[in-house]
Symmetry: D3
Subunit: 290 residues, 6 copies
């Protein structure tokens, strides 16, 4: 229902938006509601508001903002001037809102908490994406997300031009060192995984050394190798050894200073936990006229 | 129930922990659960794990970690070496966990997502607190929190030595510029607020100028004045004008470079939105032995 | 959204209304729904109904009634002739409802259960308020509410002209005898409380004797003293001792016969648990024409 | 699980208790929890408490009290000296509780809100039952219950010696005047009801006159007749006319002064809305020693 | 709200439909939503679809289908050509849908999962009903339903011309062999049941032999006897013994081959668990034009 | 926690079991609970029960049965003699249960409704698997599941030796005819899909003809081709054309008579909607001794 606000090609379940916004409004309104507005804003008063960028960045989360106002005033007018994924300059007006003044003021903080957080993720993602645009590497997120907001945060990564890794423990196999050790080695772990999962599930395996990568390549059964904490020289050799057989993902030690060099090794994906666990909020504000 | 893990003096509802952790585990396990562990970890296998700091900081969220493991293995052993609010050095082991290997691996990411996020908030708060320890000013958080995690984040601020502002729109009055404008001025807004709320509700009012502060002081009815975006010279004059009558909170333009000077003006509280909306995660890891 | 039905100045979260009504309808409809109406009311039949007072009182809960009908027939017409807080005479029509006959009959009991209960609270509150109108004392409610309906019941107290005490354990400090004993006395308890809570949290302390009150006044740190089970002579002396420093709340032994004398002692608030735990329902009925 | 606390023969779903108690605790603890206890009660402190009657009455709701303490301290000791349905004298100790002091104080109000409300219902029910014990009439409740607590309140009626009417709109047919009018008369309404419902559903029909009762008796298909607002003379004639064919329920104008005379007419049941919508709380308290 | 889609005389709670459909959509959309449609269907694209029978049967569940589309596109047009309970021939178009193409495709499977399952139940029920239409026997369902869908499945039985047995453990008494044994025999069990339940609750008792039936008839207090696993000769003798006193329900060994003979014994009801636990889905499809 | 009851290699989220069982118990207990047991079973009575196969089949759902008893009696003893995936002969005892008699009787139907339904799915799956065991083909399920039970049903397919297809719309791409048409052909649809989804998402595409398969093979970007409604001759040619490049899934017209021939064409997977939408329940019973 919010599809005109979303970045094209990225679906965001209406239930994810509706439920997260409702939970946030309930959290903020508490038992007694907005007691300041109840005391000071006359019934029937209307307000106009502009969702405005205070700093440059990339927009994400407009559907959450619209939903926050709508839940407190179903007759709210929400006009988007931008859509998710659009770049913002300081002063840009992302959306204009008109409706019941109490509803606008009561929903303001929740609307901003979603959009500043998600736009912060989109903005940081876009910075990483810009650093690697001369290469084939894609910037991907991880499962290091803020609890309860995974679907929204993964969507925000898409708004910034990044791609998504697993959404959870159940939609792809990722064999790590502990799994390998317990299963009895790479060969055994890959065989067990292949035997266990269906034909629409991909298998990724973490390797810490080129020897491990060689064993993975020999064994077969993996779709992706996760090259963990390798330096760029080692990554280059991994890319050569691989010769295009597996998709290669680099992780570890990735930041805005190092990402270009990592991308230039020829890996396919670079995963960055900071996109979702450490992105500072983008400064957006709501200019209200009553 | 988690009280031995919490920072003393700060209560955290067991339901807040239980519900947030359950939601996060459900989010991560999805429909099919941890398909990698199911394929590779033999039934009955046990694991030991250490929750270890990779970088220095302040610990917060241990109860969430314990709860994550407990929900997947009620018989888990969780021994805390530290408690929330404790400083951590790189390499410090905050807790040791022993139990079903699948449960440990399946809960790992959720446990870390809580503790790294909340410890990040505590760590950033502690940095601000350290900058003002020579003054009377307290560092306080705002309502600029990640949707759905407010109680946990406000608790994390306490772990870092900060204090809490309102938890929501319903537990205190905060009259802002729009409320003043609509209500017909400071006098009218303060009267309306006092008439509307009960005897256990405090009233704070935002002022942008010393003239406004003077009017607030003359009118009475406020407990706290929020001095918004004033420079330090103006803050000092506000402190003088106030002469101890109201609690004074400074906000706007606060960062680690400016906070000491702001505190030295003599204000009582300095509110910092970044504590909760922009704190980078603290790097904690789980070292697992199976 | 229901703001035109509410008593001015009192905010009632739309989620509180929506959730409580939905829970009540689900409770009443059970698994099979209204089997009597299903058997006897033809599809498409319409009904008109009048929410009518059978006894005099004060109206509260109109938004709940409207919501009950709306949830079973989104196209229902609900016209309010009165609004919450209005006095009702026997025979007064508070609202008129028109819509699908099955929906009207199926929602009738839930709509009445809310309005008769909440109006009962408002009516009893108004009786207490009338007894003290010649004094400065305000009638306030307590946390002795029916489980699950606190926000609605506290709102109903406002409809009757009363004011609200704490909404829960988290929005103000109330130090009672046990807290004092364990903390090591009044001084220690007040210091611990002040150190623990933020600048927007008020502190109330219960005192059973004038000596205790003297100690509270000397110690400082409290905003309100709760004078528990004192007779009127003692209350008067407490008012004198206090000399306007703290807000004073009287509690214990309050009923419609005693409240005026208590108010005349000069206390600021009188708290009455019976407002919410023992108010008889106000007799309202739904006159339906099909 | 609470069966040893319950009145024999009355089942109370463990989920009804667990869910209602959890909702009430969450409502009371809010976002920040019990901030007074957090500030003043040292970690690890233990408390003993006695649930004590301050006034005579009939006990109901012990399982809810036990559950409230248990949810905040799973290791709580709860020893019942009485069980639901037992008469209480002022001073009687219904139960003793020992456990974590913060948990005891934080759960106190919720535990009392359930037991005082439900015991109030049981006590009022017992008063009605006592008035009619020389007759065959049973005292039954109605659907006029506090929203969200129906199952608990109906159970409390059982604790007081009363019996239950319908639990909702779906477990029995009750044809009222509007249903009769729309369906085209008593005959048509009864036929429609019988044709629509299964073989385990009883049919009751409201009659306002003896003519209507005669028609019901002639038509067949009803199990129970609800004699609405008839005086005792009319009730007696109804009992005679009925000659034992249908169960007869009297309603309307029932109070403690009138109920005996109504019962002496020979009706089988007397329904009393006030049992659940207007019962004052029974005064119970918690005496805590820390 | 869905009443025009429902079989007349059978009420289906709007909450039952809304909640079951929402749960199913959330289950299907998961965290990331319909990623195929997001990638391939342009924003704003519209679709027309026809809900078409591929095999003959009886329709049930149209309201669920409508609700599934509506939840993903509130502006969907849903035109029903049939209503629940109608017979379908292969090729019949039960409903036509027009709206947002992504919404139509994303809701398709959920809409079909409800309608094919519920129509399967209606179709199997109708087959049993057809076999006994020359007798007085009614076909009734049991509590052997798919967990979570009981209200919907019982409604589907009604769509097929069957009647409903108990909806749960709480709306009627059914005394089985174990209850009899523990209670101390038929007499004791019936007395205990009658003493325990209200006047609107029917009592059914299972009997395995004619001796038991004789004892039930002699004891009184039962409304219905469940004749369990009796052959037709025995059933006939039970009908004779009963002489119309109790309603008689036959169960055990009922299938489409045996049901007519069972019905011809004169029993009132024949209960068939297979209606809800083993009905194959009816083949319905959605023909979409975009 | 239930891992010892599960089929090895298949993870079933404890939350999926806990939530589905709770919902089912609440559905069955309703408002008043098990009124028959409350009336007839003395407090403290214990029962022993045996979960016994009445017909041969394959067991699935033991964890749900255990959970149902446990939720009504946390101290229940549940000893499994079999585990999920085990074959059952008529008379085999899958598990023995000992505990509170009321709890055993009240949970009986829910425990059976889960195990008979899930074992029915496992049994039907095993029948299909047996027919193709001489081939390389795997039997896979679809999204044609009973609403609300998908995770459990997909697990039951695994118990019967089948494999899982997509769990929802979000964990893999499946491009169908409508997507192809709207996207502008196979090439465009595959490109759009690949560009839109992450590196751990597989792409399957439905083809109705060998020409379409050829185009898919030429285009690249697909991992799996779904050969829809092709006869065995065509399937054989598809297998030849494919030459091992893509995984091939056959669907349409699959039943126990046709599946072997389909498997012999050399396809990799055969998907069967009937496994989950039309499997009759397996006859299991609970033999209770009190």
């Amino acid at each position: 229902m919010h599809s005109a606000l979303l970045v094209p090609g990225a679906f965001l379940s209406p239930f994810a938006v509706e439920d997260a916004v409702r939970r946030a409004l309930v959290e903020d309104l508490g038992r007694a509601g907005d007691i300041t507005s109840a005391a000071t804003i006359p019934e029937g008063k209307r307000a106009h508001a502009k969702l405005t960028a205070r700093k440059p960045g990339v927009l994400a989360g407009l559907a959450c903002a619209a939903e926050a106002f709508r839940q407190l005033d179903p007759a709210i007018e929400f006009r988007a001037n931008k859509r998710d994924g659009d770049p913002l300059q300081a002063g840009d007006i992302a959306a204009e809102i008109a409706g019941n003044a109490s509803a606008v003021l009561s929903a303001e903080r929740v609307a901003l908490n979603f959009t500043t957080h998600l736009s912060g993720i989109a903005t940081l993602t876009a910075a990483f994406v810009a650093k690697v645009k001369h290469t084939r590497a894609k910037i991907v997120c991880t499962r290091k997300t803020i609890p309860g907001l995974r679907a929204l945060e993964k969507y925000a990564v898409r708004c910034g031009g990044g791609m998504n890794h697993r959404f959870g423990l159940d939609d792809a196999v990722l064999i790590k060192d502990n799994h390998i050790a317990v299963a009895g080695g790479i060969n055994a772990a890959l065989k067990a995984a292949r035997a266990s999962v269906g034909h629409l599930v991909k298998v990724e395996i973490e390797v810490d050394s080129l020897d491990q990568l060689a064993e993975v390549l020999k064994t077969g059964g993996a779709d992706v190798a996760l090259l963990d904490n390798m330096d760029t020289a080692m990554l280059k050799r991994a890319v050569e050894m691989n010769a295009g057989k597996l998709a290669l993902e680099a992780s570890g030690g990735v930041n805005l200073d190092t990402v270009a060099a990592i991308a230039e090794t020829g890996v396919d994906m670079i995963s960055v936990g900071a996109l979702t666990h450490s992105a500072p909020a983008l400064d957006l504000g709501l200019d209200v006229e009553i």
